[in-house]
């Protein structure tokens, strides 16, 4: 008898349970994969240079993932118990003992969880290899990922299953007890317009002010280094967005629907008479969930923004530091060439650029002081003949303009420094205006200070304290230098040392070049002998791949969780709400019109959170994208997120309509 009741309950809500079980299985599968991946021998063997980093990160991530999935299960699992309220109350009326009803809900939860875990474990076994191969592919490691689940892992997963299922079943049993104690059949929502209208309008004002503040943040973020204003703005935007969104959902949207409802020429037309009220009803019910989904979507988008710009910054930094696989100056070029001849490396491209080193003085806005130092000069034609990646990150210049390349003061502050003025150069005309950049040709480590790209004429005429030539090589599949060769080359790391003797004026100051390392480094600058990407490149690519793997996994998981929460909310209507749709059909409303109501409901439920989330995440772009424009890539990332989210909306609509139609044929 009880088995039959449980079976019927599961069968009645099969669509909703299926979505829940699949979402849980996905989470369990990912958790299992992350957990077992850390112990995988092929991972340890292929990525030994990362020591225990990968397994530590996967363990931490799997823990975080398990926690989030558990919260999701507790939250969403409660929907089903709520849905069975009438059934449980009827059982009690018919004389069933309370503990039996509680036991039914307890067992039901155990069955659903066991099913989810079973599917999740199967998913883990099937997709572990696939995910491992994906990780290796992203990390650009050519190695066969072997499937491996240790007994320790398996036992741990079983323990997690037992404990989590027990807790979830107890939580649902408690929820059932509360239903039986309260016995309220239908909660009448108080409209309280006197509270909703002012709250909604205040929320709307808060959101508007947050947008205004975001626009200001785009400008003010540049002051982050020396003013607390941007941080205050960020704090205000976050607070205003979070509270404003809730208040708008609480008051403004129902208020707008209420006004629409009162405009009889609009509401007394077609199914609007019903749908405005129905949607208002549903909105009242789902305010907290819509808000929750909005804020989590905004968080997901902000995380993606942060990850994108973070990765860009690291990538930019890496490119600035090591634009060539191998770089050298005129003192080391012969040794390097000799060593390269001994290897089987295939040179893809060789570059050679003469440079002049001279003394300069200028006023630095960043440090707010006068600076005197040596500077490397390169002609415009030589600069432009280098590969595009060398000047992609710098401001664009023409053959008459000057470009000062300096170390960036902040990771995110590329392509954003203002122009510099009045740079004095020893025995040469003063440079009135110079555009700025931070992407050094031949790599930042090859230079001891800033670099200046000057028009060809200026370069030819200018005297030099020191003249040098930089060399750069690109290879097919690396430079192939052996450890022994690198050991030999180690003594050529420093090419020469420049001791600057500063006098009262630039023309009186001079540079003394020393081959040997000085005892004192006061006013002494070092010119690097050579620069090599080597293992840094490998580490960078592998780290980037791992980072992409984790971020993608979390984003997809977050999306699945949010999508399924919304779908289940749309799907799990109260009995009286389903009855109303059936009544409409009985009195002659066309199926297409009822479908239209479901479509509107889905649109409202899915579109509102994503619009608000996009509006909020705009602030995240303002925080990181200081390039005065929203890059194409970030639009693509956001677009991808919206498309995947939209897919959930479409699935939700189809499933929702299916469940309504099923009730029509009853």
């Amino acid at each position: 008898m009880y088995r039959k009741i449980i079976r019927r309950s599961l069968s009645n809500m099969r669509d909703s349970y299926l979505i829940y079980i699949l979402a849980c299985s996905f989470a369990i599968g990912i958790f299992g994969i992350l957990e077992s991946m850390g112990d995988n021998p092929s991972l340890h063997f292929a990525l030994h240079m990362w020591d225990s980093f990968i397994s530590d990160v996967t363990s931490i991530m799997s823990g975080l993932f398990a926690f989030c999935a558990f919260v999701y299960m507790i939250y969403v699992g409660g929907f089903f118990i709520k849905q069975q309220r009438n059934e449980f109350l009827t059982f009690e009326k018919l004389g069933m003992q309370r503990w039996v009803i509680v036991m039914i809900s307890f067992l039901q939860t155990i069955i659903v969880q066991a099913l989810a875990w079973l599917i999740g474990m199967v998913l883990m076994l099937i997709f572990q290899k696939f995910m491992g191969m994906l990780l290796f592919y992203l990390m650009r490691v050519r190695f066969n990922f072997e499937m491996h689940v240790s007994l320790t892992n398996l036992w741990f997963l079983i323990q997690v299953f037992l404990v989590s299922t027990l807790i979830l079943s107890i939580v649902n049993a408690i929820k059932t007890i509360r239903i039986l104690q309260k016995k309220k059949r239908r909660i009448i929502i108080k409209t309280r317009w006197w509270l909703r209208i002012p709250a909604g309008i205040f929320g709307f004002v808060l959101l508007l002010s947050a947008q205004f503040c975001t626009a200001m943040l785009f400008k003010d973020i540049r002051m982050l280094g020396y003013s607390s204003k941007p941080l205050t703005e960020v704090f205000y935007i976050m607070t205003a967005d979070i509270f404003g969104t809730y208040l708008v959902y609480f008051g403004f949207l129902p208020f707008v629907l209420n006004i629409l409802e009162r405009v009889h020429s609009l509401s007394y037309s077609g199914v609007n008479i019903f749908s405005f009220k129905y949607m208002k009803d549903r909105l009242f019910q789902n305010i907290s969930i819509l808000w929750f989904v909005t804020e989590l979507s905004a968080l997901a988008l902000a995380l993606l923004t942060f990850c994108y710009f973070g990765y860009q910054a690291v990538h930019q930094n890496y490119n600035n530091a090591y634009p060539f696989e191998l770089a050298a100056n005129k003192d080391t070029v012969r040794v390097i060439k000799d060593e390269l001849k001994k290897t089987d490396s295939k040179v893809k491209g060789t570059y050679k650029t003469p440079v002049k080193i001279n003394l300069v003085s200028y006023y630095s806005k960043n440090t707010q002081s006068y600076i005197r130092q040596p500077m490397t000069f390169m002609s415009y034609s030589d600069y432009m003949s280098l590969p595009k990646r060398m000047h992609k990150g710098n401001a664009k210049i023409n053959s008459h303009q000057y470009l000062k390349i300096d170390y960036s003061s902040s990771t995110f502050r590329y392509d954003s420094e203002p122009d510099e003025h009045n740079i004095q150069v020893k025995n040469s005309p003063m440079i009135q205006t110079a555009r700025t950049g931070s992407s050094f040709p031949y790599g930042s480590s090859m230079h001891f200070g800033p670099m200046m790209i000057v028009p060809d004429k200026y370069y030819t005429k200018m005297p030099a304290e020191v003249e040098d030539t930089f060399y750069g090589w690109d290879f097919k599949k690396g430079d192939r230098l052996s450890r022994g060769q690198l050991k030999r080359l180690n003594s050529y790391r420093d090419a020469y040392f420049m001791k600057v003797d500063f006098k009262s004026s630039l023309s009186k100051s001079s540079i003394e070049v020393m081959k040997k390392e000085p005892h004192k480094y006061e006013d002494t600058y070092t010119q690097a002998g050579f620069l090599r990407q080597g293992s840094i490149k490998k580490r960078f690519k592998q780290g980037g791949g791992f980072y992409l793997f984790i971020v993608a996994l979390f984003s997809v998981a977050l999306l699945v969780a949010l999508g399924s929460v919304l779908t289940l909310r749309v799907l799990l209507r109260d009995d009286y709400q389903s009855r109303q749709l059936r009544t409409l059909q009985k009195i002659g409303v066309e199926e297409s019109e009822i479908k239209g109501i479901i479509r509107r409901e889905n649109t409202l439920t899915f579109v509102i959170p994503i619009i608000f989330a996009l509006v909020q995440s705009y602030a995240a772009i303002a925080m990181f994208d200081v390039g005065r424009h929203i890059s194409k890539n970030i639009i693509l990332i956001y677009g991808g997120y919206v498309i995947l989210y939209g897919l959930f909306g479409i699935i939700s609509y189809q499933v929702s309509w299916r469940s309504v139609k099923q009730k029509f044929s009853l």
Binding site: H264, F274, K277, L584, Q585, K586, I587, G588, E590
Partner: protein, 256 residues
């Protein structure tokens, strides 16, 4: 003749355990007739009414209304026909809880996108006719069962349907409320010349009809025509019910 039902049948369930709800029924209804459909529970009254009102499709046969074969129409066209030409009163009222009385009543006109002036005129007329002006802005939850059924009747009649379908309209009402509703239905039948098809198992309710068709086990068993005297007609209905075993004067079986 307004409605012609020709050899319709309907089965429920799967092949082996199929239940033959309606077996080859034919029926004709004149314009402005008040037809009662009676029979014991499970006889097929509601199924027959649902099929004539296009809420269900018959497995076989034709349903012709005003010369149009409704079984040949697409679902969408059927819904349109239902909305424009038919009105419905159900035992469970089928009012929309989220709408107030006025919104429930004007729903069919709003669905037809009628203009606001017509909506207000028809609403005032119906509220006057059924004497429920005071209920306009009340919520459905606040009404008594009798009031709910009158409101459901107002909704069914507001767009001047040619045919009114009533499925056990007095089933949830006490005798006083039932009498009020039946008087209204009779008045509408006479005043507006609306054809009414009413399914009931109650002899008193059926006595308001001009003709009663008796159904048993999915076939038409017999019919009784109102001789013009309601008491005599009531006796005839009771006798027919006795014959088919549906109950007697007090709805109690003959063998009791």
């Amino acid at each position: 003749m307004q409605i012609a039902v020709k050899n319709i049948s309907k089965d429920f369930g799967k092949k082996r355990s199929a239940v033959h709800a309606i077996k080859d029924i034919s029926l004709e209804v004149e314009h402005g007739e008040f037809l009662g459909i009676m029979g014991p529970s499970g006889a097929g009254k509601t199924t027959l009414l649902n099929m004539i009102s296009t809420n269900e499709r018959p497995d076989h046969g034709q349903i012709i209304i005003d010369g149009l074969d409704l079984t040949q129409l697409h679902d969408r066209e059927q819904a349109k026909y239902r909305r424009n030409k038919m009105g419905f009163i159900y035992q469970s009222f089928e009012l929309l809880d989220s709408l107030n009385v006025k919104e429930n009543v004007i729903l069919p006109l709003a669905l037809n996108r009628s203009n606001k002036k017509l909506i207000e005129e028809r609403f005032d007329y119906m509220m006057n006719l059924l004497n429920i002006e005071g209920l306009s802005h009340r919520a459905v939850d606040e009404l008594s069962l009798g009031q709910r059924q009158i409101v459901a009747a107002a909704r069914a009649l507001i767009n001047r349907p040619e045919i009114l379908f009533a499925d056990e309209p007095t089933g949830s009402l006490d005798s006083k409320s039932a009498t009020i509703l039946l008087n209204y239905m009779q008045m509408i039948n006479q005043k507006e010349k609306t054809t009414i098809l009413m399914a009931t198992h109650d002899s008193f309710t059926a006595s308001y009809c001009s003709r009663v068709v008796f159904i048993k086990d999915g076939v038409v068993f017999s019919e009784v025509i109102n001789p013009g005297n309601r008491d005599k007609f009531f006796e005839q209905i009771i006798n027919m019910q006795r014959t088919i075993g549906g109950g007697d004067y007090f709805n109690v079986s003959k063998n009791y």
